[in-house]
Amino acid sequence: MQLICSPSGSVDFRHPGQGIRDIRKAGFEAVSLDLFQCASPWSLETLGKQKKETEDPWAARLFQDPADLKKQVSALLFQCQSNTLQIPVARAPYLPRDTRRTDLNTFLEQLTAYSIRLCGEIGCSSLVVPPLFSGIEKGLQWQENHAYYLRLAGIARECHVTILLENQCMNYNGHFLRGICSDAEEAARWVDCLNKDAGEERFGFCMDTGVCTLCGQDMHTFAGILGQRVKAIRLRDCDGYQENALLPFTCAEQGQNRTDWLNLIRGLREIEFDGGLILDFADTAAAFSPLLRPRLLSLAYAVAEYVKWQIEIENLLKKYATIALFGAGNMCRNYMKCYGETYPPLFTCDNNSALWGTIFCGLEVKPPEALKELPEDCGVFICNVYYREIEKQLRELGIQNIEYFNDEYMPSFHFDRIKRNDTLK
């Protein structure tokens, strides 16, 4: 899985030096090429409708000559190259969800075609191309988009670019409803049919978690249906009502996340997602002072790594010939419920001497010192939220293969939580 940072909100694409360096310094090795920064949804909406002096000159130049796209992003591309940042995915310009412009589909297609060529030139292997929707009747959406995507497929083939469709919501008088490709079965059909008609696997899917959240969708089921068609995830948080791109885990109420990360992670684990994880936190980044942005980017990288770690948690268990656990509480119980059968631990241990010698969830509870006797290829998994304290203790004991386990996003949960008194029984 590749961690990709969307530069929107962090990088001024006309003066990208500082922002790109900040991204690289934070640990990211890849960015997405957000071509919609050259022609923002708002600037497209007002194209030709404003006085010359208030019109976005960059979008106007693109309207005259879509080939200007390359010139407009040249500084960004140069900085990415200088900072050894890869660009595995790009996103084509798009119209606002509440657009009234029904006259721009041809221009959008031209712009998208140039976006594909640009991707080909710079070795960017995927381009997210949202479906056309403006001015298209509900019953004709597939027909129109089928023809649109197939027209693009030829160019994409020449340029070795995969076109990624993306789930959409629609703005119904200010309220977001499920839009094109928000029904996973329909989206899967579209991708399959386009690939069949293109005669090769030229199309895939980018799952936008923000749209799923706005539409209150079950992301476990959504990802499960799309399966291997999901080549990229646009990972962003929002409150479920406004379309924002916030840093994951920052939109919370009363100590709880408003995005259903549990079902997203369950879904991505189920499909063994191994594509591009595009972290989009444009609104959070733009709202932070440029003085704080380097630290925000470091946090963003840590968040992306954490999500990847959660999705791939089972790989960690596969890494060792044998494993032992530390902790004889709820986390250990959850481990045993979900993974105990496939990855049976040798035993667990706990600092509570009252538990030593007892059996917990089928495991013998031993004192921590017992870990010293483990073979070299055995991993010790900390099943307790006091990770860092326990890690220190284990290091002092000379234990090497220390790993963290986490039960926040388990495949299933018990209906109750045990209390320490229960454990003692």
């Binding site: 200010g174 209150g216 109420e253 009363q254 018990h414």
Partner: protein, 310 residues
């Protein structure tokens, strides 16, 4: 021609049920959605609290509801649908609590439904996906519950209607049981084929659908004739407010932010000729008591508008 109905909650009182039914009739309704759930509140159940209402025998319950039955008949109101107390399963509840809901409340609700000659009873599917790990595993539990009810339903000539629900993640309402119309169709058909009767149907809840951005038209068209009853109400897309349709706007154009046009198109497409029932009881506590009749008239007027559009 669609008949128009509304909930009995906040209108029909046990002391003089006939007066409430007469008020409904006067306001322009001809059908009632009998709020049996008012006798065992969800808010209590989620706090693991039961009352003794359903400790009564079936005979005692029938005696209790005899004035309601007579009152409705006398006022010219047909009890078309009923809401079973919910949840039917409390996730962290004791075995005793859940056993009581399963073995006492649910079957007795069916008996009351039959006694009131009500053809449809709405039930909530179990909200267990987060614990069990998938929507499918959650449905299997609901299916067991429906399997328990189905023989009674067949014998009594009642259709048990599952309803699209929401779940709550950090205060954000997301899709819950029965929000996938295609799955609902397949599951309903499987049930009815197995029992050789229409033992299971669907109740489309406009408010819940709006909260999770469902496309009304597509959902209704997918359901087709499996749609037996409605819960019509409106909200701001954020909270489950059960307000009057066309109440909410979100832009300066001040157009309704709920897709009522899609609702009408969907019902029209499937030639829905059953009751247009409003689930707007909270409106009646929001408005002054003195305005109750006018408020109910407005709601039934919206029903008439829908009827005319259909």
């Amino acid at each position: 021609m669609n008949l128009i109905g509304t909930q009995t909650k906040n209108i029909v009182e046990d002391g003089n049920p006939e007066a409430g039914f007469r008020l409904m009739k006067q306001a322009g309704f001809s059908c009632a959605d009998f709020s049996l759930n008012s006798y065992l509140l969800n808010t209590s159940l989620y706090q693991f609290q039961l009352n003794d209402f359903f400790n009564r025998s079936v005979v005692e319950l029938e005696q209790f509801f005899t004035p309601h039955k007579k009152g409705a008949v006398s006022a010219g109101i047909r009890i078309n649908q009923m809401h079973m107390p919910y949840p039917a399963y409390v996730p962290k509840g004791s075995k005793e609590l859940n056993g009581y809901l399963w073995n006492e409340v649910a079957p007795k609700s069916m008996e009351i439904c039959a006694f009131l000659e009500c053809p449809y009873i709405v039930v909530h599917g179990f909200k267990l996906a987060r614990n069990l790990g998938s929507e499918q595993a959650e449905w299997e539990r609901t299916e067991q519950f429906l399997d328990m009810l189905a023989p009674m339903a067949k014998e009594m000539g009642i259709t048990v209607c599952i309803e699209n629900l929401y779940d709550n993640v950090g205060g954000h309402l997301i899709e819950g049981p029965c929000c996938d119309a295609k799955k609902a169709v397949e599951r309903i058909d499987r049930f009815n084929d197995r029992y050789h009767a229409e033992v299971v149907g669907f109740c489309f809840d406009t408010g819940h659908a709006n909260l999770v951005g469902l496309d009304f038209e597509t959902f209704l068209v997918t359901l087709g004739d499996r749609l037996k009853v409605l819960h019509i109400h409106d909200n701001d897309g954020v909270r489950d407010l059960h307000q009057i349709p066309f109440t909410f706007t979100k832009t300066r154009e001040n157009k309704a932010s709920t897709d009522w046009e899609g609702f009408i198109r969907g019902l029209k497409a499937i030639r829905y000729n059953r009751v247009l029932s409003f689930e707007t009881a909270p409106v009646l506590t929001a408005f002054p008591k003195e305005m109750q009749l006018q408020v109910l008239q407005l709601i039934s007027g919206i029903g008439k508008y829908f009827t005319a559009e259909l």
